[in-house]
């Protein structure tokens, strides 16, 4: 029952709040983006910008948070209004998650093999035990687990960090999901292990043809893997577009600032250009544009009027930005776009 007129996933004006002792935290405040079938969308932004809360909202996994606005539609169905039982059957089958810490997804007292078998049989009741076992070993081999049959019988603590990450990916793709949500899947890993896991994510994606929502603070990971990128700041999407356009011709001052702050592996940079100040408190976000206290282009209008996401550029690819003065950036050759 696919509604083919719409992208696979639509996040529309999502707002999520948390009540805390200090007040209401506006963790996500009007996030909007879509994911098409089979595409990889990277979500970047600094710590606390709302990346994880947005992702967790898709499956209704934000525990103490409250959705105050917006809709999340998956294949045309609003996930927010689905009965809990239906949401549970989507979770782990049509939509699967990969976390930074595999232990949040793995049960420490159950062998890796049994966990994958259970995941398979939960969503396919007719699958025999023996068939599920074969399939699980196949999956472990697919994710590059040497000696998969022996690994099948081991517990998560017997695995290294990189191997656990592989096991979790095997579990995530077990039921052939159409959407994979990966939240900082390689952040805790060493760079040579990260390279292995990134290769594996590509394999998993090709194998399942799943659309992937890749959340990371590492712009390099997005540049290597994603088709499109969504930049978040203070709970909002401030820029989105195809990854080459956003990285080489950014049209939001925050994206420009982020790219200019980066030291580069591939070339000498005389001086880094940090963004002054620090991100705003989400208890009392600044009025108007949330970036205005740190923005070199800010003026009166930015302090009062909230910039909405709008199309910029020549319109060949859908490139959107939420800045009143985005056109001024087109004229400034930045260090990044050189």
């Amino acid at each position: 029952m696919d509604d083919n007129t719409e992208p696979l996933l639509v996040i529309d004006d999502l707002a999520v709040e948390f009540r805390t002792d200090e007040g209401v935290v506006k963790a996500v405040d009007g996030a909007a983006f879509t994911i098409d079938r089979g595409e990889i969308v990277g979500v970047v932004g600094e710590s606390g910008s709302g990346k994880s809360v947005t992702a967790m909202s898709i499956l209704g996994l934000v525990k103490s948070g409250r959705r105050v606005r917006g809709a999340i539609r998956f294949r045309g169905r609003d996930l927010g209004t689905l009965p809990a039982k239906e949401l549970r059957s989507i979770r782990g089958a049509e939509i699967a998650m990969i976390f930074q810490d595999p232990m949040t997804a793995l049960n420490p007292v159950v062998t890796i093999g049994r966990q994958i078998v259970e995941a398979l049989r939960l969503h396919d009741k007719r699958l025999s035990k023996a068939a599920a076992r074969d399939r699980a070993i196949e999956l472990l081999a697919l994710v590059g687990m040497p000696d998969a049959a022996a690994r099948f019988k081991q517990f998560p603590h017997e695995f290294s960090g990189g191997m656990r990450q592989r096991a979790m990916i095997a579990m995530a793709i077990a039921n052939g999901p159409s959407l994979l949500i990966a939240d900082e899947p390689t952040t805790a890993l060493d760079v040579t292990i990260q390279a292995q896991v990134l290769d594996l994510l590509k394999v998993a994606q090709q194998e399942t043809q799943a659309a992937t929502l890749l959340i990371t603070h590492d712009l390099g990971v997005v540049a290597e893997l994603a088709d499109r990128v969504v930049v978040m700041y203070a709970g909002r999407v401030v820029e989105q577009g195809d990854v080459t356009t956003v990285f080489t011709a950014p049209r939001h001052p925050y994206t420009v600032g982020l790219l200019e702050s980066l030291p580069r592996l591939d070339r000498d940079v005389d001086e880094l250009h940090p963004i002054p100040g620090s991100p705003p408190s989400l208890l009392a976000p600044p009025p108007g544009c949330p970036f205005h206290p740190r923005c070199p282009l800010a003026r009166d209008r930015c302090r009062t009027e909230r910039p909405e996401l709008r199309v910029v550029g020549n319109g060949t690819a859908v490139h959107r930005t939420a800045c009143h003065f985005a056109e001024e950036l087109a004229a400034v050759p930045t260090e990044v776009t050189r």
Partner: protein
């Protein structure tokens, strides 16, 4: 003595060797059995040598568990080495007693990764920065002024002095940690992943601050990091570590543009670069497997279990750290090869 007069002295000695580490080892005992007897040792650092000049940054890079932080902790003598020498301007700190160390303690200071854990929540910023002065009995004469000067030096406002560390952002806390490390006019700072916990835009603020301080004060840095992009930006020289040993060392350009050790090459080729135009244009060397257990490192070359070039000799003979190719910098591989793995600068545009 103000910060600037101490700096003037150091700036006269730029390029002089401050620190020389010779064959340093740290073996942490593994205890077992009912009597908790040593049954083995984790060879965290296993024969490391390097030197740092005044005004210079030497970076130690490598993956978790390679021994870089342990090395840093030995240099400031938070850990007593199992063997080896730590020559600070010719004086061996490695074997000094606590009493003998005291006058040298102020010369080398350490800044840690986690600005949250390393600052006491119950102390004001003023007290945190003043503490080393008080401990050394140097606070009573002009200590308060010195604290103000230090806060100014790292870009904090005077009114910040009476606030508590938890009221500050990560970047500001790291500045407080740096101000405190500078209190006793050190010549050498050990910076252990000083910006790893920070977001990129804040990271850049702190990196710039550290570079400016080095230029103004003539400080020597031992910069410990797993982040090769930052290392390229801050270092004069680099030592690449793997499983407790240095596998390659050289100037920044030698390491980044002419690496000869397979591990250095794999490391450089593994880092994702934030330029989508380079996608597919780089050759990636993906290593197999994980880092072996340092309690039981492989014989011969420690990298051989993951190395695509390993031959019988690699299991039999420990490769010395030497310049076999005449590139001007040494690497510890029996079969070194010059293999530039990074796209050359600006190639894409």
């Amino acid at each position: 003595m103000t910060v600037e007069t101490a700096a003037a002295e150091r700036l006269e000695h730029l390029g002089e060797e401050v620190l020389r580490v010779e064959d340093l080892t740290m073996h942490f005992p593994i205890r077992g059995g009912v009597f908790r007897r040593p049954v083995g040792a984790v060879r965290a650092v296993d024969g490391v040598s390097f030197a740092i000049d005044q005004g210079e940054t030497l970076s130690l890079v490598g993956e978790s568990g390679c021994g870089k932080s342990t090395t840093g902790r030995m240099v400031v003598r938070l850990l007593e080495p199992t063997s080896g020498r730590i020559l600070y301007r010719g004086h061996d700190l490695a074997t000094m007693s606590e009493d003998e160390l005291r006058p040298w303690r102020s010369k080398t200071q350490i800044v840690f990764q986690d600005p949250y854990a390393s600052l006491s929540p119950r102390m004001t910023v003023h007290d945190i920065v003043a503490e080393p002065l008080r401990v050394q009995g140097r606070y009573r004469r002009g200590g308060a002024d010195r604290v103000s000067e230090l806060l100014d030096l790292v870009g904090l406002q005077p009114e910040h002095a009476n606030r508590y560390a938890h009221e500050f952002s990560g970047g500001q806390r790291q500045r407080i940690g740096i101000a405190r490390a500078l209190a006793l006019d050190p010549e050498l700072l050990v910076l252990d992943e000083p910006v790893s916990a920070l977001d990129v835009s804040i990271q850049a603020q702190v990196v710039n601050q550290l570079r400016e301080l080095q230029q103004r004060l003539g400080l020597a840095y031992l910069f410990i990091s797993h982040d090769l992009s930052i290392v390229r930006h801050v270092s004069h020289r680099i030592a690449v570590m793997y499983l407790g040993v240095i596998v390659e060392t050289g100037s920044r350009d030698e390491i980044f543009t002419a690496p000869t050790h397979p591990y250095t090459q794999a490391l450089l080729s593994s880092v994702p670069v934030p330029d989508p135009r380079l996608r597919g244009a780089r050759e990636r060397i993906t290593l197999k497997g994980d880092v072996p257990n340092p309690a039981n490192p492989p014989s011969g070359c420690r990298f051989r279990t993951r190395c695509w070039k390993a031959e019988a000799k690699c299991a039999e003979e420990v490769p010395a750290l030497e310049d076999r190719l005449g590139t001007g910098h040494p690497s510890a591989c029996h079969f070194p090869e010059l293999l530039p793995v990074l796209p050359t600068s600006g190639a894409a545009s």
